[in-house]
């Protein structure tokens, strides 16, 4: 190896000018571990700022200096070095060691200040660009999955207010949004997270403890995630990076969906119901609701319109159809996501810049298309030596276009049919006996064509977002700084749904209003013959301003930082909705309609009004905040920090003394390894952190006074009208949460082992929760959200990184593990009052002290009896009185509390391997100690909506079956209370524990010098690969209960020049 090097050196130097031969020193950069060649390093002479060329073999040439010079050698992934060259050397060999993520170099961005992680006292997690680049994804948050122990990705709360599905350290606030606050650079981000190009993000900081809420105020009760974009650096050469990635995913295996009943099973059920007269009353409804082809056949047979053999033949033909196959073939396709980005950044002596652009084009498995363009530019200038001006401008535009119908989404008479033939037009909502004869053929065709309809009802959503910010930073009087920042955010969102004139939607609406006059011929069309277009526009404008005064002083070993500031923020939203009728696409003309007068409905004969979708709404939220931050550092060993903040807002109806509430936190840190007397050889770093803080939250949807909401003019009277949106709750109080955190950061064996352990405790009181309400009061609801509960939450966050091998090939592992156990400590409502309201799937707090905060609570299931009926419990005695069980007779002691609905344990293990230019990362995710309620056959849904379940074929059929199955018999007449009981019984509670192989990423990284390519990376990533282990025996993936998502494969490359 060494010989090779000298040979190369000779060759190389011989190409140089002969006269230069004795005036240069050759240099070489190699790995400290195995002396292998390291290309791609940057070598600079500090004295004259000259950058030396380093070739692909890691070699460089230095002119022999007259006086000693300092060389700085730096390289991504390796610790930088500085060495002195005296001029006497024959050759300079620079060994570089892999970089250990020393805390010194990690900066915690709080959005208000930057703190060196080493001196921080709070529990914060910083995720760098390398980690963000590991997983592909259109949005930034999906790339963090399994990468941090700070955030639990759980879709339990993903619907509704917390649509990100992120939970930071359990939940501190209850009935409010569980979403953490997302901050982009300096200010909370109000737009759609999909507007942010993840390639623009340099780092993500997660603030987990009380310091987060104390500094970010009431909206930060569930943690803060701070996104910091890539910035240029003063005096750095321009760096251009280009990247591209393409992901694909197979069609989903819709055949595995448990919501399925076979066509023959379904048909025999229909025949059985028909023989019981179940459909009799449905033959004569005023709505003329459609019946299934099988029921229509049975009616025709009963009425003697077709022969028995004909009926049997028709039914046999239907039984042979499996709609899933048609959905799969007609409506599903392979997913393709493309992502391209381009960025350049750098700086001169007085300025720095970062400019980037990105383009994404995603097409999902149902042909839903998403296109996005993002542009971003950040600049900063030193106008004077002590005055820095920074500006930033970003723009993003996206377009969402609707795709094809999902599996099992097309209904006939509001029922799903497993034998629906999607290739043929069907009578969808109205019985063909009506549509075939009504109006003597003067109505438009009343059939629905599944393969055409989605094309004729295209919906598009366009989002445009502009963000502009300006800031100054001024230093004066040696110790003082002033920061002023302003951000303007403007998001425009427009959704257009076009119902073509030939769509079923339009035809049906026109027909329902068509007025026929039998004597005078031509029909009158109150809903004009033409297309229909629905339009909805939403504009959000946010102004953010902040002024901050800083004092930074150093007295010997004492360092003091004081910051005081104020913020103002205004979020204005307007929404406009409307509908246009009678569009003629050829000339773009539209027609007027009469919204005022009722028309006789063609189908029902009753009075109907033409749907009017016109609506305007507007909101304006204003916030004012003031805060003070104080940090103290003694000898880089002892750290103290504290902050106080007060927020005020114009939230409605909150009485003035509750509009603002001070939030505060204090913290302390002790770097034990910096103690002079600390001499433990194997412990390279040891730091203890403590923090405590107090925060509060008020739900903007609760009010101490009655609030009404105006709606559109009344349907009947055309008068202005308003409904009560919030009833007064004079006893409304703030939710209060205090958080204590103790943590240790450590490094052992020359940092071969590094990591942190945090233990925290949260105590909440006056938390919002549902309480059964005496609805005699007349507030329109059974349950009212009030300050009803207290809670305690304990948790551990563990991070452990080990470098197992550091030789020619290296292997390192990162283990992230989190535990969170939250329990209700007290509840202000007696548990046996309306105990049935305790039953749930863990979306509301469980009002029983000592139970996990979000418990899956069920009716007790005592097996099936010998008639196939499920057995429940009332007052500790077996019972089949389902109405009483689901009514008010159950006691809280009759219910079963299975456990938390949110994983109490979760974590991930990432193993990283490196050999030469090859890198391999394997990530596994674990979630445990939680439960979910699986679905089963619900005969009510089956009879009324055609929703089947695979359990149907395992149901109780005959006496004796109760020993082998828990699935109740199908009985008639239908007892809806029995169905409610079984669906909410503990028979269906299933453990959610599982381990998933989250992703495998293989990449090749190299440097090509003659192309000025600092880094070339090509990678292959397979994500969502498979479930390695699951606790349940039903074959259910707890995170994809219906249809498992197939593996996603991504290939991509990145060039940095």
């Amino acid at each position: 190896m060494k010989n090779m090097f000298y040979l190369f050196l000779v060759l190389y130097t011989s190409l140089q000018e002969v006269s230069a031969q004795h005036r240069v020193i050759p240099g070489r950069i190699q790995s400290a571990a195995d002396s292998s060649v390291l290309p791609g390093a940057t070598v600079r002479i500090i004295e004259n700022k000259l950058t030396l060329q380093v070739d692909s073999k890691g070699c460089f040439i230095l002119s022999k200096p007259v006086t000693p010079v300092h060389l700085s050698v730096s390289m991504t992934g390796f610790a930088s070095r500085t060495l002195i060259v005296t001029g006497e050397e024959e050759i300079i060999v620079v060994p570089l060691s892999p970089q250990v993520h020393r805390l010194d170099e990690i900066v915690v961005q709080t959005g208000y200040q930057q703190i060196n992680k080493r001196s921080s006292t709070g529990a914060a997690e910083v995720i760098g660009a390398k980690v963000i680049e590991q997983q592909p994804g259109t949005d930034i948050l999906s790339r963090l999955k399994g990468m941090t122990n700070a955030i639990l990705f759980d879709n339990h709360f993903a619907s509704g207010s917390n649509n990100t599905g992120l939970i930071v350290r359990g939940l501190s606030t209850i009935n409010n949004s569980t979403a953490p606050l997302i901050v982009l650079n300096n200010f909370p981000y109000e737009g759609n997270l999909n507007n942010i190009n993840p390639n623009d993000i340099e780092s993500v900081t997660v603030l987990k403890d009380a310091t987060a809420t104390a500094i970010w105020g009431t909206r930060a009760g569930n943690g803060v995630i701070i996104l910091t974009t890539k910035q240029g650096k003063i005096s750095s050469s321009p760096q251009l990076s280009v990247s591209a990635a393409v992901s694909t995913m197979q069609k989903p295996d819709i055949f595995t969906s448990p919501a399925f009943i076979s066509s023959p099973d379904y048909i025999s059920m229909e025949q059985w119901l028909f023989s019981n007269g179940y459909y009799n009353s449905m033959e004569n409804t005023t709505s003329k609701a459609a019946l299934s082809p099988v029921v229509e056949t049975l009616i025709a047979k009963r009425d003697g319109r077709i022969s028995s053999t004909e009926a049997d033949a028709r039914i046999a033909a239907l039984a042979a159809i499996d709609s899933r196959r048609q959905y799969y073939d007609l409506f599903y396709q392979r997913l393709t996501n493309q992502q391209y980005s381009l960025g350049i950044r750098g700086g001169t002596e007085k300025t720095s810049y970062a400019i980037s652009g990105g383009y994404d084009h995603n097409t999902d498995q149902q042909a839903l298309s998403y296109k996005r363009i993002t542009l971003r530019s950040d600049h900063s200038f030193y106008i004077f030596k002590n005055l820095e001006l920074s500006t930033s401008l970003s723009y993003s535009q996206s377009l969402n276009s609707s795709g094809k119908p999902a599996s099992n989404s097309i209904t006939v008479g509001n029922r799903l049919l497993p034998y629906l033939d999607l290739t043929q037009p069907v009578t969808k909502d109205l019985r063909s006996s009506f549509t075939d004869t009504a109006g003597n053929g003067k109505y438009l065709d009343w059939k629905y064509a599944p393969q055409e309809e989605y094309k004729l009802n295209a919906s598009t959503t366009r989002i445009q977002e502009l963000m502009a910010s300006i800031g100054i930073h001024y230093s004066f009087l040696q110790h003082f700084t002033i920061d002023a920042k302003y951000l303007y955010e403007d998001q425009y969102q427009n959704t257009i749904v076009k119902h073509n004139v030939s769509s079923y939607y339009t035809r049906d609406l026109i027909n329902r209003f068509t007025q026929l006059n039998r004597s005078t011929g031509p029909p009158i069309y109150p809903v004009p013959l033409g297309g229909i277009q629905d339009n909805s526009t939403n504009v959000v404008k946010v102004h953010n301003g902040r002024v901050q005064l800083g004092y930074h002083a150093r007295f010997g070993s004492h360092k003091l930082t004081l910051i005081a500031g104020g913020e103002v923020r205004q979020n204005t939203g307007t929404t406009q909705q409307g509908r246009i009728y009678g569009i003629d696409d050829n000339v773009l003309s539209v027609s007027k309609v009469d919204y005022i007068n009722p028309y006789k409905n063609t189908v029902t004969g009753s009075n109907s009004y033409i749907p009017d979708l016109t609506q305007l709404s507007g909101s304006e939220y204003r916030y004012l905040s003031a805060y003070v931050i104080a940090d103290y550092n003694y000898q880089n060993r002892y750290f103290l920090s504290s902050s106080v903040r007060k927020d005020a807002s114009n939230l409605f109806g909150v009485s003035s003394n509750e509009k603002g509430m001070p939030l505060w936190s204090i913290g302390a840190g002790w770097d034990i390894s910096q103690e002079p007397r600390f001499h433990l050889r194997h412990i390279t770093y040891l730091k203890l952190r403590l923090s405590y803080g107090f925060s509060g939250n008020v739900d903007p949807n609760r009010s101490a006074v009655t609030i009404i909401r105006y709606s559109r003019p009344d349907f009947y009277t055309n008068l202005q009208n308003a409904s009560i949106s919030q009833f007064a709750n004079p006893l409304l109080r703030w939710e209060k949460v205090s958080t204590f955190n103790i943590g240790i950061d450590y490094g052992l064996f020359q940092d071969r082992i590094t990591g942190s352990v945090d233990w925290y405790n949260k105590q909440g009181s006056d938390l919002f929760g549902p309480a059964p309400l005496d609805y005699t009061i007349g507030v329109g609801r059974q349950v009212l959200t009030r300050n009803v509960a207290g809670m305690r939450s304990n948790g551990i966050d563990l991070k452990l990184t080990t470098r197992n091998f550091i030789r020619k090939w290296s292997w390192s592992s990162t283990l992230l593990l989190s535990y969170n156990h939250s329990t209700t400590t007290n509840y202000y409502v007696p548990p046996d009052i309306a105990a049935n309201s305790l039953v749930g799937s863990g979306f509301n707090i469980t009002p029983l002290p000592g139970k996990p905060l979000y418990t899956i609570t069920s009716y007790a299931f005592n097996g099936l009896d010998n008639t196939g009926d499920p057995m429940g419990v009332i007052a500790n005695k077996p019972s089949k009185d389902y109405a009483a069980i689901i009514g008010t007779k159950s006691l809280s002691s009759d219910l079963i509390y299975s456990g938390s609905a949110i994983p109490e344990w979760f974590g991930s293990l990432i193993n990283s391997f490196n050999w030469h230019h090859w890198y391999l990362d394997i990530s596994m995710i674990y979630k445990g100690a939680y439960y979910f309620r699986r679905t089963s056959i619900n005969y009510n849904s089956l009879f009324t909506s055609g929703v089947g379940h695979k359990d149907f074929s395992h149901r109780w059929l005959q006496p004796g079956d109760e020993t082998v199955t828990d699935i109740p018999a199908m009985k008639y007449p239908l007892n809806t209370s029995r169905e409610t009981f079984y669906a909410n019984s503990n028979a269906l509670v299933t453990p959610g524990d599982h381990i998933r192989l989250q992703y495998i990423r293989l990449s090749y990284r190299t440097t090509i010098h003659h192309l000025h390519l600092q880094q070339l990376e090509a990678f292959l990533n397979c994500s969502n690969i498979t479930i390695l282990w699951k606790k349940n025996h039903y074959g259910i993936d707890p995170e994809n209960k219906d249809i498992p998502a197939p593996m996603m494969t991504t290939i991509g490359c990145r060039f940095i020049f």
């Binding site: 105006y710 005496d774 059974q782 009052i833």
Partner: protein, 451 residues
């Protein structure tokens, strides 16, 4: 130095916050308001889906206007409906919203308006509007209480009204105030008080049939006094209402073949109020009572107009004054004629009773076929009026009230029977099930007495 700086900053902050209070006074949502003006309060009362819909119909489910056959009974979508059909228990198990909640929602809105009104200035400029708001709120509250007490309390007993349970009379929406069940005397007393207070405040006729009016208030006074057995008062208020308008539809002019022969807001409608829907009452399921059908005379147009033939001697209802499937429960002029006639007969004014019957029925018979009624005695007149009441007002929820109040007189007692799958169920006169069980969760939460 340090403490001074912090002190200065805190002072500056507080000054800034105080100065900015004005900034925070702006409304967060343009469509929201704290109800504080006449316009706001009127808008709340004009929220028709709460105020004009949702009236209790469980009484109609219990009554004898209709019946179900075995298959229709089995096919009822909910098991609570099967229990309700045979006058069983647990009628509201798991049902929300229900008759109780919808009724008290109306009370809640009315109370919110009435509690807010004193702080709204009453000026000469806004007097009409202000009075209309107050009158409407009182009228709505009384109407809601009336329908609740018809459903959840036994027939009014003048002797024991002070001790027989009525319904909770809530006058505020403060949920820190417990709900107590008032006596019948107190409940009926509040209804009468509200209606009488509303009368002078309301316009004679409304700008829309969905709004309360003086005529509607008079009609409910007549209904209420009728239930209380105070016939002189009931007759007087029915007369007051008819003084405002007494128009009747001539059924000869209606198209009996139309899916729904009646139009919404027709001239007999005094106030448009709609009941809750129950599976039993769907016209696809239930058939009109056979005895009732057989009671119409040959030339009586009501048989053709109220009912539609389904098959083999089975008829369903299409008589809603709403012109669709919804159950019309509001007052109309035809009912007022019958109240006035009944009160005249009970007060031995036979001729007045017969005059009212004639006025009504001449519009109900095929032109030229009606023969004026004669009566041998006031009792005969009363019996005739009650027979016509039965034939004129089915499926408007009035039947349950009538059964309940008439059961107290020996002459009009009736035992109801249902036959389902070989079992026979009976509801005896004055059975305690004439007061529908209050939803169990309400009993649990309030501890009030169950029926």
């Amino acid at each position: 130095m340090l403490s001074k700086t912090i002190g200065l900053i805190l002072i500056a902050t507080n000054i800034a916050l105080a100065a900015c209070n004005k900034y925070l006074d702006s409304k967060p949502d343009a469509s929201l308001a704290v109800p504080s003006s006449v316009k706001d309060l009127q808008a709340m009362l004009d929220f028709t889906s709460t105020m004009n819909f949702g009236y209790a119909t469980i009484g109609e489910v219990f009554a004898d206007d209709y019946f179900l056959n075995d298959t229709a009974y089995d096919a009822l979508p909910r098991d609570v409906e099967r229990r309700a059909y045979v006058w069983g228990k647990d009628i509201y198990a798991g049902l929300f919203p229900n008759d109780w909640s919808r009724g008290y929602d109306q009370v809640g809105v009315a109370n919110t308006v009435l509690n807010a009104l004193p702080s709204v200035e009453h000026t000469t400029a806004n007097a009409l509007l202000w009075n209309n708001v107050k009158g409407s709120a009182l009228c709505y509250r009384a109407i809601a209480f009336y329908h609740l007490i018809q459903t959840f309390a036994l027939a009014y007993d003048p002797v024991k009204a002070g001790s027989t349970p009525g319904i909770p009379i809530r006058m505020t929406t403060n949920f820190n105030e417990p709900t107590l069940r008032a006596s019948q005397a107190a409940s009926f007393g509040q209804i009468l008080q509200d209606l009488k207070a509303a009368v002078p405040l309301l316009p004679l006729t409304p700008i829309h049939a969905m709004r309360p009016s003086r005529q509607a208030a008079y009609s409910y006074l007549a209904r209420t006094y009728l239930c209380m057995g105070q016939y002189a008062e009931a007759g007087r208020y029915a007369d007051s209402a008819l003084q405002i308008s007494n128009e009747l539809l001539d059924y000869n002019t209606l198209n009996a073949n139309a899916a729904y022969p009646f139009f919404q807001y027709n001239k007999e409608v005094i106030m448009q109020l709609i009941g809750n829907s129950w599976g039993e009452l769907s016209n696809a399921r239930c058939y009109a009572d056979t005895n009732l059908l057989n009671s119409y005379e040959v030339n009586d147009l009501r048989k053709k107009i109220f009912f539609k033939h389904r098959f083999s001697n089975r008829y369903y209802y299409c008589n809603s004054y709403d012109g669709d499937d919804d159950i019309f429960v509001g007052p109309a002029t035809d009912e007022l004629y019958l109240i006035r006639a009944e009160c005249s007969a009970r007060n031995a004014n036979t001729q007045a009773a017969l005059n009212d019957l004639d006025t009504l029925l001449i519009n109900r018979y095929t032109k030229g076929t009606y023969v004026k009624r004669v009566a041998s005695s006031p009792a005969d007149a009363l019996a005739q009026v009650l027979r016509e009441r039965r034939k004129e007002l089915p499926f408007r929820t009035l039947r349950f009230s009538d059964l309940k109040r008439l059961n107290t007189a020996i002459a009009f007692k009736q035992t109801l029977t249902r036959k389902i799958k070989g079992n026979e169920y009976t509801l005896l006169p004055n059975d305690k099930r004439y007061a529908i069980p209050i939803p169990d969760d309400i009993i649990q939460l309030t501890g009030m007495q169950q029926n």
